[in-house]
């Protein structure tokens, strides 16, 4: 178990479509972090006010459409540097549950850096 485990959960529209998984993995590697990217696609939809939307109410996080960037590393400065670079270039997860699945040390660090960019 790594000292810092951070899950960044980005939902559809949160990140640019042009951002490729390999770019994230390479960027994490430059900061001595291991990264895994996983995608979840939930086909459940409903119509609200003429808009077809994904129904997420009462759905477990794991089932909601999202991109999960799972980062692990041993050193705070590595995680800190990566998250600064990533949040500066894109954005931090928009909701508090966007860090769900992180360990306590990773979550606290990611939250502080996200606060910095608010």
């Amino acid at each position: 178990m790594a000292a810092y485990e951070v899950n960044l959960r980005y939902f559809p529209g949160d990140l640019p479509d042009s951002l490729a998984d390999w770019e994230i993995i390479a960027q994490a590697g430059e900061h001595n972090l291991a990264a895994e990217i996983s995608q979840v696609e939930n086909p459940q939809r409903k119509e609200v006010a003429g808009r077809v939307v994904e129904e997420t109410l009462g759905v477990k996080f794991a089932k909601i459409s999202q991109t999960i960037i799972s980062l692990t590393g041993e050193r705070q400065e590595d995680m800190d540097a990566f998250l600064h670079a990533f949040f500066r270039s894109y954005q931090s997860p928009r909701a508090s549950f966007g860090l769900w699945g992180s360990n306590r040390a990773g979550e606290e660090l990611a939250r502080q850096i996200a606060d910095f960019y608010d």
Binding site: L57, S65, R88, F97, Y117
Partner: protein, 295 residues
């Protein structure tokens, strides 16, 4: 064609109340059926922030006049909102209305309507947040803001001195009818920097050194113009990043709001661990009510 005037002034002869009446008159003369509601006549409670409206997909449980107002807004094709600006923003009744509009923003039943905003203010330079506040609310509801204007005057009814202001309000009502009739929601007011909200508030994103519209969050480029002034440019493709677009609002509710309920459940155990922070809480001081006063 129905237009609803919403007056937020306590004073029936206050400046924004008079201006709202003028705009309604203009709309009526242009052929609209008009109706007026005064927010001070309504009892609208504070939003409790429970989000039950979203989680249970139903109207707010508070039984007050908000439901009457929203029914009137649904019946109308457009709104004329008149409010005084006491300190940088709309008055407290409008703020309360904005807070209580969360569910409307979600279900989108006011989408496609149009609005004009008239703001009376007493000090020039003290209105910075009033339009971003009101237009973001209306844009979040999917309402086309076709006009917005400040009206400067200091004492109640002072606007009666200024024929140009009365005529302007009148013309705003007529312009709203024209927009509805022609289905042309092109902004008729004073253009601001942002092509979407028409305001001039640009912020530099913390830690990123990039500029954006402070309200719409669309990125901007700042350059020094030939005359030495700052030039703000919004790339046409950046407009797609408008957070008040219908698709963006839908995503906001699906992905950033609704899952909070599952998060609450998932973190219940951990939240209990933190309950020690609630121990020894301070009892709030309250004013003595007449019955409690002991001589």
């Amino acid at each position: 064609m129905k237009i609803l005037g919403i007056s937020a002034s306590y004073n029936e002869q206050g400046n924004s109340a008079i201006l709202t009446q003028q705009a309604l008159r203009g709309a009526e003369e242009a052929g609209a059926q008009v109706e007026l509601v005064r927010l001070p006549d309504l009892t609208i409670d504070d939003c409790r922030g429970c989000a039950l409206c979203l989680y249970r997909d139903r109207e707010c449980f508070l039984k007050d006049d908000l439901h009457f107002l929203f029914a009137k807004m649904r019946e109308a094709d457009a709104f004329i909102l008149g409010t005084p600006c006491h300190f940088q923003e709309a008055n407290s009744m409008v703020k309360r209305l904005i807070d209580r509009s969360f569910y409307r923003t979600y279900i989108g039943d006011l989408q496609g309507k149009a609005a004009a905003i008239l703001v009376s203010h007493s000090k020039r330079g003290w209105t910075d947040r009033v339009f971003p506040q009101i237009t973001s609310w209306l844009r979040g509801l999917g309402v086309h803001v076709v006009n917005q204007s400040l009206f400067h005057s200091q004492y109640p009814s002072e606007v009666l001195l200024y024929r140009d202001q009365l005529e302007k309000a009148h013309a705003m009502g007529q312009g709203l009818v024209r927009a509805l009739r022609e289905k042309d929601y092109t902004f008729q007011g004073k253009e601001g920097l942002c092509p979407l909200c028409h305001d001039n508030v640009i912020r530099i994103r913390p830690g990123r050194g990039e500029a954006e519209c402070a309200d719409c969050h669309i990125p901007a480029t700042l350059t020094v113009a030939d005359d030495g002034g700052i030039k703000v440019t919004f790339a046409p493709e950046a407009l797609a990043q408008d957070r008040y677009r219908s698709e963006s609002m839908a995503r906001h509710f699906s992905y950033h709001s609704k899952p909070a309920l599952a998060y609450t459940r998932a973190t219940r155990k951990r939240a209990k661990e933190g309950k020690a922070a609630l121990e020894g809480g301070f009892a709030p001081v309250k004013p003595a009510r007449p019955a409690e006063v002991v001589d």
